[in-house]
Amino acid sequence: MKPEYNVIGKSLPRTGSVDRLRGAPVFAADIQLENPLILKALRSAHDHAEVVAIDVSKALAIEGVVRIFTAADIPGKNLLGIINKDQPLLATDKVRSRSDAVALVAAETESAAHEALAAISVTYNPLPSVTDPFEALKTDAPKIHPKGNLLFSRKIRQGDAEAAFAGCASVIEKTYRTSMIEHNYLEPDAGAGFVDTDGTLVIYASTQNPHYDHKEVVTLLGLGDNQVRIIQAATGGGFGSKLDLNVQGFIGLALFHLKRPVRHVYTREEAYLATAKRHPLTLTVKTGADADGRLKAIKAHIVCDTGAYGSYGIAVASRSAVHVTGPYEIEHVDIESYCVYTNKPFCGAMRGFGAPQVAFAHESQIDLHARDLGMDPLDIRLKNCLRVGSKTGTGQVLTASVGIGECLEAVKPYYREALESGVSAPTHPFRRRGIGLGAMWYGIGNTGVQNPSTAGIEMDPEGHITLFTGCADIGQGSTTVLAQIAAETLGVQPAEIRMVVGDTKYTTNAGATSASRQTYISGNAVKDACQKLGDVLMTEAINRLHSPKDSLVFQDGHVVIKAGPENRPEDRIDFPCLAKRIHAKGVPLFWQGYFDPETIPLDPETGAGSPYATYAFACHLALLEVDTLTGQVTLEKLVAAHDVGQAIHPENVIGQICGGAAMGIGFALMEEFEPQKTVSMKDYHIPTCADVPTVIPIIVESAEPSGPYGAKGVGEPALIPTAPAIINAIARALGERIYHLPANLERVLAASISSGHFGPQEVTHG
């Protein structure tokens, strides 16, 4: 039976909404500062070149130009990166892509800053460049970094895949390609800063990870921890790209030298050019199934093009390798994943860390097996899906909260109804309808590495509660969810808890808002802190209520003796009274919480390990129509079932599902970032509300025992199954499959032509 909660599972109004819709100055570009200098970065003119000389004399002579910084002005360590440090803030000896910053201008006005950028003279010695990752792996390829172009590889081996293929009734091998994708959050990267009266450099930033920013800026400037303070400004979307340092280092550098307020706001063009992208992947996947449709073996070769710098590339390569099996039990596994440097803009984290790319492959493969074996696509998924007790490709045995079967069952009625209504029968001479399924699994948190979160809870002697969290709410609603978890644990209403969020002066590290980890990991850290405070309150209450601790509960800001027949005043004591007594005894009313999911690192040779403590699961169903003459795909409906463990805030979960599905539609049908060709939003199209159909969200709650009140995560899972469902629906509509994303007009039309549909079809009546 499901436990009953007071505030968990209730969709309360989100924090911060009212400020935003009244136009309050909450974003970094809005923050009012006194007479701020404007910062602008000069970017590289080459894909790959030695920087011979930088002459700033002409630029400095421009009226209003205050200072021009180069790498020589950086007092600390000029090397950034969350996993591997390989990216200078400002170029030193060479540039490795056109995203690289070469110099930083500080000027009194925007126009002076622009003029200065044009007046800086950089002498380059161009080097041969490489933009294809397969070329980059050749021994004679231009060397982008001293250690070579292979940044990382991940192997996962279990059983004997080659031998298993020999016994399979259906063996399919295909190569899949995905494109570089731009996050295209609506708010271009922005920050502002000033030097506080005590000399602290205070930096407001649009960021997903304020405590990481803090560490990087401190190291960059060679300062002490308390000399830099990062405050997360309202963040207008991130989706992974605001995990890297974008403006924070530049602002820190200018504050360090100039001691004047500064502002740095990227134009859309700079946000496109200079921030991380989604890794384009090339994967060759071979899978085998027996005559009953049971998957037996997988062999996969994955190449992730990380561009000029690592950023989160290692995480993408590692997660891709783990997830390429799909949410299916496959005994024999032989997977290799490579992360390769090229002279392109760098790729980093983007919603899903490689899982959306590999889901395109594993979901295409399973549909191909279904067709090969004459099976129904839903039945073959149900036959193979992971269950409690299943062993994954890394040898991890899943012990609880494996809701993929429930997700598949949840979409089944919609699937059967669509099939029975003759969805694939032509209704128009030039249009074909299609139905497709996409399933996925997603490990919550980082892959086989520690990724703890911390949180603080404080009660003042009057009984007021404040929650301190470093967790950046970037629009997904984590602040509301963490307040709910604290409120549930302490028996109060979320609105009664004051939230202090994302300010490195007052909060401790909650880790990145990434990997769908904040509800699960920071939620647990908050719960841990609240339980510690709760224990102190309960212990004090025993003395007052003369009742054992296990008879006491929190209720409406009181400790009460539970389930007594009558509600007597002497059976309850309020928080202010307890807080005052505890405070008078000198017992702390501030408690720190901590949680790190239990994982086992992957073995470097076999990949064996438990990379995640829990997994989310999902299945999407797409119904669409393809115009065989134009290649236009019109989505009619998406059904999206997600196992989130426990929805702390169902409306937020649905918001993530609908938003993720829209991003998945872009990934499937239209989005492709081409360096130097994609310059502005005129060249890169994201879905509008006319492109997105009605989404039917289904929340599946297979409670996770280690989660806060059973919760897992949903942010990235929301996006992952959409593109596979759409691609499978197009394949069903046309009888021809697309292996290269996006399935844009040209590719759909090519599929239409090669399938023989480019011409009038017979219309079935009745």
Partner: protein, 152 residues
Amino acid sequence: MKKLIRLTVNDREYDVAVLPNQTLVDVIRYELGLTGAKKGCEMGDCGSCTVLMDGKPVNSCLVLAMQAAGRKIQTIEGIETENGLHPVQEAFVQKGAIQCGFCSSGMILTAKSLLDKNPNPTEQDIRKSLSGNLCRCTGYQHIIEAVKSVTP
């Protein structure tokens, strides 16, 4: 060379000296200090800078400040009533139509303009009307539900 113009923004008159190439969004944000209109692309692609000009939504990054002289401009800061939030704002809160909130000002103003003209729009009307306002967070579903929920 700057020229003095009179702008009517949210029923208040402002005399501002503007350059011929200065956009309305820059004047609203930096001269008038109203930060509700956001700069998302400065090319008229995203709709984040939407304001109402004589009741019609415009991308204020594509309007020169001088073109706005003598017109009635309304920004998100000017739509609240004596009773508090405008019904469209209230609906956005109730329906969870705000995630990061960067598109919200523009989205709400476009929706308000639609509802002022057509108090009972169909879902198609709403989708068509809002298709120039991009959102990367919500997938639009809660936004459309919010607009639908505003009854005359």
